[in-house]
């Protein structure tokens, strides 16, 4: 998974929030998918109107085509974002979402504003996004919005007890290992890493390994031993 760029904003109580800001690439791709969607909707709509309206209410075809093309041109993106909580079809596919500059939910007004200037942004938007740390196009600046990655919530395992002297770096490495141990391609690599961690535990907190140390049993699973030793909560 590609590393997501994070930019800091100040949230409630001046607490820093590192928003996963969507860059030029993912936003352009989402826009491309949206324009394909717009083309399909417009084509289906026109054919549908010609067939259905021409048969049901003869004479209304031209009016319906003119009006609906106008509404699609100005409202396709805005309506999707307003009804979809800041997401269009392309943004849903790429897991992006429009939020306010403070990270909150954007209201209908700003969503409408950012989409009304879309035509101007087709010319100057990419340049503005490329030079702005928050990747805002003109519409975002007008509306006070940002586009962020809308990823699933983190559910990595956390440690229940920590050997004395371990800092945030060691903790992060071990937690990351426990989260990914099952997906490592080569079980020997996982085993080797787990044994290294067990060695550190044996040095810093041998009491954690009471009853779980696989060193006593050559057939034991060192990854399970690390899990058992560190995820068990202290009494």
């Amino acid at each position: 998974m590609a590393e997501i760029r994070r930019e800091s904003i100040l949230g409630l109580d001046n607490i820093r929030l590192d928003l996963p800001v969507a860059g030029l690439g993912s936003r352009s791709l989402a826009a491309f998918l949206d324009y394909i969607g717009l083309g399909i909707v417009a084509a289906v709509w026109i054919v549908g109107v010609i067939v259905v309206a021409g048969w049901l209410v003869p004479g209304s075809t031209a009016v319906l085509v003119i009006t609906s093309l106008f509404l699609l041109e100005w409202g396709y993106f805005a309506l999707q974002e307003i009804l979809g909580g800041g997401r269009t079809l392309g943004k849903r596919l790429l897991k992006l979402r429009v939020v306010t500059a403070e990270g909150g939910a954007a209201a209908a007004g700003p969503l409408l504003i950012r989409n009304l200037v879309r035509d101007v942004d087709l010319f100057c938007g990419p340049l503005l996004m490329a030079i702005d740390p928050l990747s805002r196009r003109l519409g975002d600046r007008l509306a006070g919005t940002l586009v962020v990655h809308d990823r699933e919530r983190e559910t990595a395992p956390v440690l229940g007890r920590v050997p004395p002297g371990w800092g945030a770096r060691e903790l992060a490495v071990v937690e990351s290992f426990l989260a990914r141990a099952g997906t490592l391609g080569d079980p020997a690599v996982a085993r080797e890493m787990a044994e290294r961690i067990l060695a550190r535990i044996r040095r810093d907190a041998p009491e954690f390994l009471t009853g779980v140390d696989p060193g006593l049993d050559p057939a034991g699973d060192p990854v399970a031993a690390v899990r058992q030793a560190l995820q068990a909560e202290e009494a």
Binding site: G11, L12, D13, I15, R16, L17, D18, L19, P20, G59, S60, A62, V63, I66, T67, F70, W74, G85, G86, R97, V99, T100, E102, G103, G104, A105, A106, A107, A108, G109, P110, L112, I113, L116, V117, D119, V120, R141, L142, A143, G144, R151, R153, E154, A156, P157, V158, L159, G160, R161, V162, A168, R169, L171, A172, E175, S176, A179, E233, E234
Partner: protein, 325 residues
């Protein structure tokens, strides 16, 4: 506080907040007032835990989990998107008039520029009628020589319903373009104002040259006044964006633009329904020989007065509730 103790003490709170977020996934309105209060309290606590974890235990699973919880909580609980939007009645009785009245200065500038352009077009065409004919095109010029206005074709060549939808969408597109073009330092709305003024002056000059100005004024009397007013109002709204960009004052440009865009969008949206009404008038009333010139003029004035009465109505200041002791 060590990491394990921090997690042991605070994890129940994070899990409670996660459960609350899951329970209100569709809409926050599902939650009652008390649940919402609890949720807001938990959100604040999660935010503080996130700040602590980011400083003391950066990169750990707890820090990452709290970061994603804080971001999701912020999105779900803050921002204007959770507010119930004001209804149409509130919009037209309060939001639109307030925004319109705040923009009157710019509207004055736009009207002055427009009138200058009209006089300019009229003068140029009086001196050289060919300039006015260039605006109309060869077909309309031929029609004038035969004593017929080009407006005749509005309802004779295509069905009225098609004409009216085409006119309405075209006029709204012009208004939207004038507004959105405001972000280009106000150049596009200025262009729209000057071009429309010049064209009106030139066309008036040409029809005067062919002694048909009376017919033209009769044709535009029902819809023209308000249509021009709406175009000028939209251009003034676009100019407000340009002004925010060029002369932001002591605020950051992004803030000035954001503030200007809210008001000017309200003005623009307030104009849209009138364009639809005008398109119907332009197709069904303006070219109709059965409707007398006097009735058309009265209708045109009535529409203008109705729009201005709505836009300029005095708005009382909203009463603010007394703070609770």
């Amino acid at each position: 506080m060590d990491y394990a103790r921090f997690i042991r003490l605070r994890r129940p709170l994070w899990e409670a907040f996660e459960a609350e977020l899951a329970a209100t996934r569709g809409s926050l309105r599902k939650a009652g007032y008390e649940s919402l209060e609890d949720m807001a309290l938990h959100y604040r606590q999660v935010l503080h835990d996130h700040a602590l974890a980011a400083a003391r235990f950066p990169g750990t699973a707890a820090a990452r989990r709290l970061q994603s919880l804080a971001i999701e909580g912020t999105r779900r609980l803050t921002g204007e998107g959770r507010q119930r939007p004001a209804g149409l009645r509130t919009f037209f009785s309060r939001t639109f008039p307030l925004a319109f009245q705040r923009q009157l200065g710019l509207l004055g500038v736009v009207v002055a520029l427009f009138l200058l352009a009209v006089v300019w077009g009229l003068t140029v065409t009086a001196l050289r009628p060919a300039v006015g004919l260039a605006f109309l095109g060869p077909e309309a010029a031929r029609g004038l020589e035969e004593g017929q206005l080009w407006t005749h074709s509005l309802v004779t060549t295509v069905p009225p319903a098609v004409s009216s939808s085409r006119i309405a969408t075209n006029n709204i597109s012009v208004a939207l373009t004038a507004w959105t073009g405001g972000v280009l330092a106000g150049l596009v709305p200025l262009y729209v104002v000057l071009l429309n003024g010049l064209m009106l002056g030139a066309i008036l000059g040409v029809t005067m040259h062919y002694s048909m100005a009376g017919d033209l004024l009769e044709f535009i009397s029902a819809h023209g006044l308000l249509e021009l007013t709406l175009i000028l109002v939209s251009a003034a709204a676009g100019l407000a964006l340009g002004r925010a960009l060029v002369a932001a004052g002591d605020r950051p440009r992004a803030t000035a633009l954001r503030e200007a865009s809210r008001d000017s969008l309200a003005v623009l949206l307030g104009c849209v329904p009138w364009f639809v009404v005008l398109a119907l008038v332009e197709v069904f009333v303006s070219p109709s020989p059965e409707v007398s010139a006097g009735v058309k003029l009265i209708l045109g004035i009535a529409l203008e007065v109705a729009f201005l009465a709505l836009a300029l109505r005095p708005i009382p200041l909203e009463s603010t509730p007394e703070p609770r002791p």
